[in-house]
Subunit: 548 residues, 2 copies
């Protein structure tokens, strides 16, 4: 077969070669699209997907999150019986994999657990989940994350993921080994017994064996968890690294994020194609009813107005609307003034919370924050929060440290491509007494936090590393930063004045005695008179200083 001389093919032969490609096969071959392009990033992405899901689950269930993350080197018994760290199965570093080694990643949460019958699909099938089809703020949104991590584990170590879940202290715990059938994009799962002796807490534990490289510094798991703690002050996060060192990010607030509500799509955010599909799927019997029930912010009055503009009578059945009419309907929607979507689908971190989180992880002299009112891009509600910390141990001569968050998830990669970084650089920090090289980040002892909360964050890739550059998003970030900037400016000014005063005061106390002696000689004062004069002088100078 491989010997055959290459030649041209006929339409028939080409047709015979046509095949379906499963989404699992696609992402297995393109795993860099999901953030698994190198050993460091693959480890970080794996941890992130598991942690995001854990936090989402806890919050949806109204439970204060308590997470334990461990990363352990995989050890293997060798002939001589010695345990040794596995760098590739044979103790040598894997070729072309940057000295990665095998690691077991485990994430345990105290969440609501997962119903037995759901476990296999959630971890063993890509594009499966509860978050893609709803308009509601959550960390996960695409239904790829954790199953992609499982896929990566299988590709690199051949090991299935191990899931242990318990929905309550009274419920029976369940444990599954789950692999992914690439061709079918379907789970290959096997339920395994949980020994009666084992104490299984309520919640879910995910264990994956992957090729990865652990590093403590830079874009590391440590950095990711530290930032996660900043954006989630209500979570308690324990991390044990491969060397066995343990870090605990304590909870600094018992306030759970407000539960968010799922909203209907806003008319402005819907494209013609989707509109047509919605009408076809609608259960309403009239197009007017359809507009009112299937969208947010469409009152009877607005619905009438839209249909009038579109020249469609209200009684029509949505399924009978022809494409051209749908087209007019779409246009009419764009022409009609419709109230912005409701925003209780969003749950910002909140100014106080954000400041608490920041102070917990950084030692600072001054912290301020600003939360913008919610607004909309392409029909999707979103809200920007920012906080700026100043001074303390932060280096004075380096560019500001920028922490980017989307729905409370830290974004560590692709900073250059991110709307948030662009907006920070586009803010005029000079106005706030900070130095800033042309078009780049401000320089000084600064940490800048920006959080975008939205029902649908427009990421630039499936890896969810950077926010796409929508003007309205850039603008909102800039405004939030300007609010913080002004307060920082005031603080810096004040600090400067205090320093000046201190200097003046020291001059006075230094020279006054000498002046006193001089006066005494000139005016022939007694020592008593001299001291009185000095005291008077001092008081006067004090006053002028204050007023200056």
């Amino acid at each position: 077969m491989a010997r055959k001389k290459a030649r041209y093919s006929t339409a028939k032969e080409m047709a015979a070669a046509q095949r379906e490609i499963s989404v699992a096969e696609f992402f297995a071959k393109n795993r860099h699209l999901l953030g698994f392009d190198n050993a460091n990033k693959a480890l970080l992405t794996t941890v992130r997907e598991a942690v995001d899901n854990a936090l989402d689950a806890c919050e949806e269930a109204g439970i204060l999150p308590e997470l334990t993350i461990t990363i352990d080197p995989v050890r293997t018994k060798k002939k001589d019986g010695k345990q040794l760290l596995l760098k590739g199965a044979n103790g040598k570093a894997r070729k072309g994999f940057g000295g990665a080694s095998r690691l077991t990643v485990s994430v345990q949460d105290n969440g609501p657990g997962i119903l037995r019958e759901q476990i296999p699909k959630i971890f063993g099938k890509l594009l499966y989940g509860s978050k893609f089809h709803r308009l509601r703020m959550s960390r996960g949104q695409q239904g790829i994350g954790i199953s992609a991590a499982a896929l990566y584990a299988q590709m690199t170590t051949g090991q299935p993921v191990l899931i242990t879940s318990r929905t309550s202290a009274r419920a029976k715990p369940h444990r599954y080994r789950i692999g992914i059938n690439l061709a079918k994009n379907a789970p290959e799962d096997k339920e395994v017994d949980v020994p009666a002796s084992e104490q299984v807490p309520q919640g879910t534990r995910v264990e994956l064996e992957i090729e990865g490289r652990y590093q403590r510094h830079g874009k590391s798991v440590d950095q990711y968890l530290k930032q996660t703690a900043v954006a989630n002050p209500h979570a308690r996060i324990t991390f044990r690294d491969p060397e066995g060192e343990q870090v605990v990010h304590e909870r600094v607030s018992k306030a759970l994020p407000e539960p968010t509500r799922e909203i209907k799509p806003h008319p402005y955010g819907v494209e013609l194609g989707v509109l047509i599909k919605m009408m076809r799927d609608s259960s309403s019997r009239t197009v007017k009813g359809f507009l009112q029930t299937d969208f947010s912010r469409v009152s009877a009055r607005i619905a009438k107005q839209i249909l009038k503009e579109a020249g469609i009578s209200e009684g029509y059945h949505p399924k009978t609307i022809a494409r051209d009419q749908a087209d007019n309907l779409y246009e009419a929607i764009q022409e009609t003034k419709i109230m912005a979507p409701p925003t209780d689908c969003l749950s910002p971190i909140g100014e106080k919370q954000l400041e608490k989180g920041l102070e917990k992880e950084f030692d600072l002299e001054f912290v301020t924050s600003a939360t913008r009112p919610p607004t909309v891009y392409r029909g999707n509600p979103f809200q920007i929060e920012a906080a700026v910390g100043y001074g303390g141990e932060l280096p004075a001569d380096e560019p500001a440290q920028v922490l980017r968050f989307a729905n409370r998830v830290p974004l560590l990669y692709q900073g250059g491509a991110c709307a948030i970084t662009k907006a920070v650089a586009a803010t005029a920090w000079r106005n706030y007494k900070l130095s800033q090289p042309r078009g780049s980040l401000p320089v000084g002892p600064l940490v800048i936090v920006v959080h975008m909360a939205s029902v649908w964050v427009p990421f630039t890739s499936e890896a969810k590393e950077a926010v796409a550059n929508y003007d309205v998003i850039l603008q909102e970030v800039r405004r939030a930063l300007q609010e913080c900037g002004r307060r920082i400016g005031v603080f810096i000014n004040k600090r400067k004045r205090i320093a000046d005063e201190a200097r003046k005061l020291s001059f006075i106390t230094l020279y006054l005695p000498h002046i006193g002696i001089a006066l005494q000689e000139i005016l022939k004062l007694t020592d008593k008179e001299r001291d009185q004069t000095c005291r008077k002088l001092e008081r006067i100078l004090e006053r002028t200083r204050k007023s200056s």
Copy 2:
């Protein structure tokens, strides 16, 4: 429902919300991942996907490609009977869509056509195709492209694509209207009659109605087709733009690209997870047979060697290999020296062809090109070709124009992120008498062409806009450019010398008469003697100049 106060949910409620997400729904919501993020790019991407498929089909069938691309504004009859250009159905520009208008894109080829039963799936189903599962060079590789364009058309104009195909002049032509069922990722097709009167040529015609914006300059369809002509000198491409202007890129070579052969995967390119899957799916009865038949470059000797290293006996049935053994097998493969994969799966453009293509589209003084021997990244064969054109109408004081190609497809976006651009900037052009600002592109009247041919181009996104930064790829590009650079350097030197000579010569002819007159006075020569002396002098000077 939307009135209900938001509250927390139970594991049961969360489970109820779990749903499958179709890949069509996923990409509809994330269409920017496929290159449909704005109106300009969407038009370009649509044309590109159709053209790539047309060229692939023609070449696979051994037909010299002849393509006709037209872009027409969609006009609509208004009450007053006047035809008008449609900017959105109501003549106004669409909100939030940068003044895009509706365009009909049509691409007709003279290829082998498509069998009737295949038409709906190819255009109406994402992740379906003949190119993903094979290791063989072609423009398409992911099975997303053209169906993504159809999806985009449906989303923005609600119109199905119209496909007309005829497999030969004798065969009956077929015509389909094809939409995509988002939830099912399945075609919704309807066969329509082709009027007997209509002259349907052999080949395939794709017609899509999309929201787009046509621009003649910058990253435009014109630019894309011009570059396509450079990389495909064997193709004849006709383009009629919305204003009705027509450009024809004539064929400058009748040589079709060598037909490429599909190869087996190379052992080095296979990950553990894939290895396990291959053993499970293998039809071989022994693991030794499996290694020999399912991989390229594995002889009986190599197979023995691998199995020895892995400590697996040759007779084992591949299906019986346990995971740990598979692991050892994987390691053993990495440890064994295996010949590089065969390269008749690649079909480079070729130096002469590339130069022809370049000279066709640019007016140049000098062209040179270099084709590197094939090599391998992560087990995938690839080959780099480069060509550099100099002088002519190219601006002398601007950075070189860089044309990037992957499997003969021009890459217009994401240049900054592309390995090719990085390699051009990393080449030391100063050595070749060209000016080059530190770490950036050379400056001068230069056009640089780089082509990567591979069975699997590692793109940084589904939009296929940039080549990922593998060291070996960067290195190969640099080497090809150095070859070209040296020749350019020689040319520039030579040109300089000729210029100098010309200047010298002009001096001689300018001053010789005066010298003659001077000599005549000093030596009291007759006019005849004077002229002889001058001629002698001239001859001597000529000689010295030549020798200098």
